[in-house]
């Protein structure tokens, strides 16, 4: 399609504006993490690593990072195993209630976090009588992490079709051998992409976490929320936010690059 130069200029300006609104605040956060002023006066009068040092030395922040990584890794692993099994079942077999199960698996990602949070909180404490802690957070995160793995694997399986697995069985391979030699190698990049997305989702999740973490467990986003409005902590919060940005964006970028690469290969 050919656009007139006026239209093109307007579109360029609009695109620029939208990107500016989205990314300028992030850039400000990054710059402020090096801003020597305690009250973050703008523009910065110099560059300092003081806040980075303080963040590093802050036990609360470090513990929060460790908790967040633990939660994200564990829920991603659960999501990888369950999500793969579920998509294999739904994509390769016929059974009663199949379409309902399909919907129920995807639903958690559409459900408001606050609802998931309250529901899980009630279930854990009221019905099951489990103490809230890092385990409950992991289970809670896994409920929506499964969806990203499921969607990625499901799409890959659909595109693969069933004939590779049939060909493998036809040549004498049992179910497990077929998965190991034929299905899994072709799912690898989809699993990586889905897993990275799941990791990123879990790493910066706050609403569900608030309801399922209990008093003793603090993930990074919760630590930020707790410290944001404390005097003297604002600069350190900035540093932690920058770390969070990096840890969240990197997997998404990798995931996109991976799924893009496999697209190009086909």
């Amino acid at each position: 399609m050919i656009l007139s130069s006026t239209v093109r200029r307007v579109l360029v300006a609009l695109t620029g504006l939208v990107l500016l609104v989205m990314y300028l605040p992030l850039v400000v956060v990054v710059i402020n993490s090096f801003n020597p002023s305690r009250t973050l006066t703008w523009p910065p009068t110099g560059v300092t690593l003081e806040w980075w040092r303080r963040a590093w030395e802050s036990e609360g922040a470090r513990d929060a990072v460790v908790s967040s990584v633990e939660v994200a890794v564990a829920s991603t692993v659960i999501a990888l195993v369950l999500g793969t099994l579920m998509s294999l079942a739904l994509q390769r077999y016929r059974f009663f209630g199949k379409s309902s199960v399909n919907l129920l698996v995807i639903l958690p990602i559409a459900l408001p976090g606050i609802v998931t949070g309250i529901a899980l909180n009630n279930a854990f404490r009221g019905i099951l009588g489990i103490q809230l802690g890092i385990l409950t957070v992991i289970v809670a995160h896994a409920t929506f992490c499964i969806v990203t793995v499921f969607n990625n694997v499901q799409a890959r399986l659909r595109r693969m079709g069933g004939s590779f697995e049939e060909a493998s069985a036809d040549l004498g391979a049992g179910v497990w051998t077929t998965f190991r030699l034929v299905t899994f190698p072709q799912l690898r990049s989809a699993l990586l992409a889905g897993g990275l997305l799941a990791f990123a989702l879990s790493f910066d999740e706050i609403i569900v976490t608030t309801f399922t973490a209990g008093a003793g467990t603090t993930t990074l986003p919760i630590w930020i929320l707790n410290n944001l409005f404390r005097p003297n902590q604002a600069p350190v919060v900035n540093v932690v936010a920058v770390v969070l940005i990096l840890v969240s964006i990197l997997p998404i970028w990798l995931a996109q690059k991976l799924s893009g690469d496999t697209e190009a290969l086909r």
């Binding site: 049939e166 069985a169 004498g172 034929v182």
Partner: protein, 349 residues
Amino acid sequence: MPLTPAGSPSAAITLRGLSKHFGDTRAVDGVDLDIADGEFFSMLGPSGSGKTTVLRLVAGFERATAGTVELAGEDVTTRAAFDRDVTTVFQDYALFPHMSVLDNVAYGLRVRGVGKDARRKQALEALGTVQLAHLKDRRPGQLSGGQRQRVALARSIVVRPKVLLLDEPLGALDLKLREQMQVELKQLQRDLGITFVFVTHDQEEALTLSDRIAVFSDGRIVQLGTPREIYEHPTSEYVASFVGTSNIFDAATSTRLLGRDATHALRPEKISLSGADEVDPGTTDGVVRAPGVVTESIYLGTGHRIHVRLDAGGSLVVLEQSTGGRVAREQRGEKVVASWSLDDLVTLT
């Protein structure tokens, strides 16, 4: 060819009352069939006639709703695909995209626990049979359609199955390559002595390749026989029209034209045309001569296809070969007499 009794050692495949229903659809509806050892057997029919489902039931990809599948006299109805001594060449070839050509061919040996060197050697041999040994390190994605087809063939025969199932394997190839592959398939089958079960919707392919053909319609076998039997003596209007082209005379036309109250089929190439002034209409010495008018004449390269409207009602398609420099004189509107031998008429039921 007589049917071999069930379970006899010379029957490679025995199907008894085989049915497969998908919901309310009867994809396969009570098929009885015996395929002899070493036979080149074709299942012919339009899409949706159940031929591919029968193949998938034999391979073990589908579980039969009713009936039994026997391979070499052994009941395998409930066995999984990996537990049956048959291999399949798939319509889309289903070559593993993440493996080299050699690894694809060696796959069946690998999962059977054949050592690395031995399976490489055998796979290379199989690739040699299909003249592709030089492409062993390529990925399937880097091959042409015809080459993929050969790799799929090599992958299936390397494990020395008793039966090879081929699901429209030539469907994706262009005409020249198809004809070449037909010759090679036939040759390969003769050399290996393996039973081939070939699924196709292409009647010409079935006629060219097969020892016997089963014609499918709506999940049933409507006729079973040698290519000559199927082509020259179709038993139903369906077979007469699906395998090659036929002129069908319904009972009313037959009565007027031949004095027989039954449906008849007549192949276009069995009819010859003469000018209306050259011969007299009527039936003498077992030859029918029916007057009519040419409504269309189409040049085919090897001859002409001429449509004639008969004065007695109904129309005919006539195939005239261009032999000995004779040119079809028949033009549209010209009065002609179509003649054919009574022996060439097939009575349909």
